[in-house]
Symmetry: C2
Subunit: 590 residues, 2 copies
Amino acid sequence: MYIERIDSLMDLKKLNLDQCMVLADEIREALLNTISVTGGHLSSNLGIIEATIALHYVFNSPEDKIIFDTSHQCYTHKILTGRKNAYLEPQQYKRYSGYTNPDESVHDHFKLGHTSTSISLACGLARARDLRGDKSNVIAVIGDGSLSGGEALEGLNYGGAEIKGNLIILINDNQMSIAENYGGIYKNIKTLRETKGKTDNNLFKLLGYDYRYVENGNDIRELVPVLQEIKNINHPIIIHVCTMKGKGYDIAENNKEETHFVKPFDLKIGDIQKPVIGERYDVIIREFLIKKIRADRNIVIMTAAMPVVLALSKDVRESIGEQYIDVGIAEEHAISMAGGIAKSGGKPIFFTRATFYQRTYDQISQDICINNLPITMILINASIYAATDMTHIGIFDIAMMANIPNLVMLVPTNKQEYLAMLNWSIEQNKHPVAIRAPRNGVYYANYEVDTDYDELNKFKLVIQGEDIAVIALGDFYQLGEEVIKLMKDKIHINASLINPRYATGIDETLLKRISEDHDIVITLEDGILDGGFGQKISAFYGNSDIRVLNYGFKKEFTDCYLVDEILRKNRLQPEMIVEDIISLKEKISV
Amino acid sequence: MYIERIDSLMDLKKLNLDQCMVLADEIREALLNTISVTGGHLSSNLGIIEATIALHYVFNSPEDKIIFDTSHQCYTHKILTGRKNAYLEPQQYKRYSGYTNPDESVHDHFKLGHTSTSISLACGLARARDLRGDKSNVIAVIGDGSLSGGEALEGLNYGGAEIKGNLIILINDNQMSIAENYGGIYKNIKTLRETKGKTDNNLFKLLGYDYRYVENGNDIRELVPVLQEIKNINHPIIIHVCTMKGKGYDIAENNKEETHFVKPFDLKIGDIQKPVIGERYDVIIREFLIKKIRADRNIVIMTAAMPVVLALSKDVRESIGEQYIDVGIAEEHAISMAGGIAKSGGKPIFFTRATFYQRTYDQISQDICINNLPITMILINASIYAATDMTHIGIFDIAMMANIPNLVMLVPTNKQEYLAMLNWSIEQNKHPVAIRAPRNGVYYANYEVDTDYDELNKFKLVIQGEDIAVIALGDFYQLGEEVIKLMKDKIHINASLINPRYATGIDETLLKRISEDHDIVITLEDGILDGGFGQKISAFYGNSDIRVLNYGFKKEFTDCYLVDEILRKNRLQPEMIVEDIISLKEKISV
């Protein structure tokens, strides 16, 4: 086994190319054995094993700097740079991030997780190197659909024309975004592929780049001579490398999209698509939208390469036809295009993960909110209970979006409320609306759910009590219920429970009314405290003698956290909250 | 005079092409006469007169929809669509927005002001039209450097390949961004121009577009036949129209960048560059940076097409050489590239208007803040005193940026403090830093200014008083001084005055200390209240009996506001604040 002897890049460089091919097979086996147990990015990593080996074989990291775009395809890189245990022993897997991380290795330059940034980062490294008069190679590895993102296009436009020294962009052409690719660039890449790089219609040359084509990017013997030839090149160049996503594992090769990221599965059975057990919001939303679409030709559902978050398989997408639009990784374009559709009387519904709305802040603010265009934005994974890696945490969206004027952000607490809000949003034509989906499980309403949300910022007083009012937003509503119950049990207070429903404003009438027979208000939100919902309540009561305690998360990036730990750290357990209330009550009565 | 007879587009269509050319001259004269009195976008509007006339001559607005990117070049469009008075009578000019505005006319489809969105918006209009099975033309007019923005590139990539029906993109090729153009696309556009559109290396064709070239875009007789030919075309097409920015006014033709936007000037003298009277932050910052750059080769100053906001003329830029980088309109690329430079040990300083940081939220959060890369971001016009049009208001940046973890946002109150903070930011290597420049004039410190800002969130207690503490952020510090003085005069209270200096966190030690001998805390900030600085103070005191009043702006988009009015509306006058304090004190003592 060669893999066992690879403790550093020096060990790789001792091998010959045939031995490297054996190593690639061993790495493939290790990745399959581990990811099938741990879950992770599967097909993207299987496809880029050979290219990663070839890069490290030819270049001298860390002097030569390799930037993996998004960095979800960095597993082989980690194996080669001293972290093979993560993939040889599944129990070690969690010790490392699934992305590049400079805290782990000098061979990792950035913590990354959102797509399309590698070319710009590489331009910066190259420019700083040239200013210093140094010589080294800077290599951006980009693929898997990331090229259609605005920043990648800005970087591509800039790099070829404006970087005067070495800049190597390796395009991993696996013919895929996460789902299909969209746009003219990919058509040109297809033409390049079909002509083995020989067509005169070469986008990259036209943008000022030199260009090389590697037909079999899963063959190290084909890759290495090309990389050796262009090593230390003195100008920007594109290396177009064709690879097969999922290479070497039948089920991944034939289900590239479904195996992009997988949960644990049985390697032999290949049960990558698990039956859904119990209710899930992705399926609930999907089924609701499909019904709506069939009844109304003006409805369009849109995404930016994220059909997976609503469990929209290829079959389902095809059945929707023209009313389904995937723009590829291009969130900015998607949001403004949705605005154009709304302006024309259509009913656009855009959906993606909450964290990716950050990529289109300006379009939401300028094109959508200034123009008050009625688009619906569905936020998936907007919760501490969702992705736990620091680049995908879902607790920043309220602070980011809910302070943009004109936006209506709805935060339902249960299934009926979610669907009522979604339906209202689709059918109204006055406001841009963002809706968070709960992530703490699918709860059913235990109060009457409204169908009309026209009266903005109208909170719902679900339980009328006294002394203490708990305002519990979204999927922390159930935490609010627990707090109420615990207070009753422990300190015999019948507290009030309020479902605020809107994160973008406050219900001044209700807040004034409860100030008459309550002296403590608790706010709970599944998001950061700074700039969040609770601080609006604190500010409202600032000139009164009502005491307000805000519960939510500290403003920080935490990587690979354990949910229970982070909840405890932020005193987000019913017992802790009731403790705080007891000590505040004691303080007041002194 | 034809212009006097143009009350609607019908009147335009009655003219023949020669008469249209006379009309163009009349419009040019009207624009010059008016803009020289009122100020406004000059050279960009002078260049596009003929193309606008030709578009409206051939197409039937509003059924055919024309979207002007950024819409700063919409003056001729406004003249032709019933709003000529704005440009014939300077006193009427202010009645209309300087941008397109659907509230003014059915021929305006969106309120726009940030660049690079028109193609995506047009794709949305086209897609909705096709879904309905309608027929009409959708035309995006884009130029002046906007093509290098990420969203425009995403839209360009999408439109040519994915829109199946009519989509017309008119590229106004005036060879300029606001300053120079950067990037490979512009190189290709240059090649197209040099070959009169005949080169085989045609980026637009390669992306799936049909293509037409118009050599003299300032000649209506050349434009109209081409537009007539492609009217009702059934697929996406690019019309590449060469125009001269500033056309017809010598001084504008020869000073395209300086006349992009002008203040009032004398038409005959052409005094477009006024001598600077008194101190101004743009010049102060520029001079400081030039000194720093000359002493340290690792410093790089960067912008995205906005050298104007630091008064960096072409001569000065050239004198800086390699240490000055303009990436063109491409803020996302700029920020991540700055991150790459910082990672490599360089000291990047990026500057642009505050409102444009919105365009790169995700890069600031992911590439910069998650990686804690020490870049300096200079925010210009982050204030109510700056641009008053709704797309450029400078009061949203604190809510947007200051809630991103790891970012340090500094808010100086005077010249010495600004420069001390800027210097600290450039020389430290631990934090990403954003610095707001005051906009209420250049004040000098009347307290000792610190040089070291390593101790984050350390507020400065400038005046130690009692009972009431005023925490006055940034350029509202002088308002704080006025409030303090007025309280002394009116209610004989010696209040405390605190300069918080940081917008990204609070000084818990100081806040606890002042809670001992103060019972009211006032916060003042030149930004919106929601998600802002003051709400962090309110939240901190939520569990105490300290009363907090937050002053700042309501979360809303206000267009073409008068500063005094908006200050009054938000009770941001010393007299009003003291009134509020008096009535709160009365309420407490009851």
